[in-house]
Symmetry: C2
Subunit: 259 residues, 2 copies
């Protein structure tokens, strides 16, 4: 399959099993790639992985029966109409409650993301029991480990993004958002680059990792057809670099206009 | 070029000229498609068009020399350090000033978008003179007209999205965002769809049009290599529908938690 210059392709990995705690994602990926023809990693591919399977592999499950809500959680739970045990977990995962309203609990996650319910997930778990699934402890480190393992196995230059679906302040619908990044510049600074008429661009920093995760999440699918890994092929070579992380996408607190 | 099931491709249209006021975008697109081999529209393609060229074709230029700033614009200009004539234009295009700070002017555009400087653009204009470029008067109508014209010319089912780069509340970097939509559901409601374990998904409305525009904007490029039209190939057929518009992506004012 050859693509015209400048094209990007999003290719779902087919054949992945349901991920279990302790699974090695790079080994699962390799088995899936080998299970079907025409699935392969190539030099310069970006692998986008759904946060959910990273959290599952890292056993970030919490059994809600084991959670004892404190006074703040019980009070907040009453205001937002959510399970006090879930609210307790949200508070433990957060540094700040941003907004509370009926059925709404938006916090600043300890990793810096402003997100509903601290991105704690209760869907797509095996039936039975009430379990919550937290974000990985350090998604940038998870992405870095997976990238290094895959580069070692395949002898290729790759990048790994970990994606989750977040809501937005003023727009409906969730959009894939980067929560972990390795091997790619999450933010591309084009300030000073000349535009078509030779005038330097003023304020263009591209949220590259978020832009890729937005579409990758769509290709992953949210429901029964879930395909939690997607290869993005065609990302320009200058965007690859080590030593970056998704935290670079966070607006610094002193620039947050909505506190 | 055949793609695996579930894959999405973003294919930039090469060979488009600089768009001039009065240009017919469907005719420019057809000429560009014919100018190079292996460029074609197919049934089920989504065409993403940069807002900038729609505004140029619709001559949404304003010569800043002709703008007389009023008292409110002069006062705001002092607070945010921007050109009072630009601020006057921003106010004319807006229904509400959301936030003002040094170098920051965030408003609710008359079309409902919360966006910096009312999405008024001063880059990528031909050299000389100070001109501003406003959003199209009705981007959903612009998308609808272009879709109907292209479907008529090509005898295909298509969708057209108009994309602009918007900043976000809590994250750095701009991300492609849908400001006009025709032929596609901008918001896909998956609530009630079973997940992998059979449990209905709780809150998943996908911001489909924004997810596609996010990556399309990346393929468009912001600088000298600008390719202001991109074909998205592989969008599932059930997502196509007429009678929708980008305004459906706006969070209703009464759900806006940040007023």
């Amino acid at each position: 399959m050859s693509l015209p210059s400048g094209a990007l392709s999003f290719l779902p990995i087919l054949g992945l099993p349901e991920v279990q705690p302790g699974n090695d994602l790079s080994a699962l990926l390799d088995a899936a790639l080998r299970s079907l023809p025409n699935q392969e990693l190539r030099d310069g591919d970006v692998l986008v992985v759904a946060q959910k399977i990273v959290s599952k592999a890292e056993d970030r499950y919490v059994d809600l029966c084991t959670v004892e809500p404190g006074a703040e959680a019980r009070e907040l739970a009453q205001r937002c109409g959510k399970d006090p045990r879930l609210v307790e977990l949200v508070l433990r995962e957060s540094t700040e409650v941003v907004r509370v309203a009926p059925q709404v609990l938006i916090v600043r996650h300890r990793l810096g993301f402003v997100v509903a319910n601290a991105a704690i997930d209760q869907s797509n778990l095996p039936q039975g029991g009430e379990r919550a699934l937290l974000l990985p402890v350090d998604p940038d480190a998870s992405a870095e480990n997976l990238r290094q393992e895959l580069e070692h196995r395949h002898g290729l230059q790759l990048a790994v993004l970990i994606s989750d679906s977040f809501g937005r302040a003023w727009r409906l619908g969730v959009c894939g958002t980067c929560v972990g990044c390795s091997g790619l510049r999450p933010l591309v600074d084009l300030r000073g680059t000349p535009d078509r008429s030779g005038r330097p661009l003023q304020v263009t920093q591209l949220a590259l990792a978020d832009q890729l995760c937005a579409t990758a999440t769509l290709v992953c699918g949210e429901a029964a057809e879930g395909r939690p890994m997607v290869i993005v092929r065609g990302v320009p070579a200058p965007y690859f670099a080590t030593g970056h992380g998704a935290r670079e996408l966070l607006r610094p607190l002193q620039q947050d206009l909505f506190r």
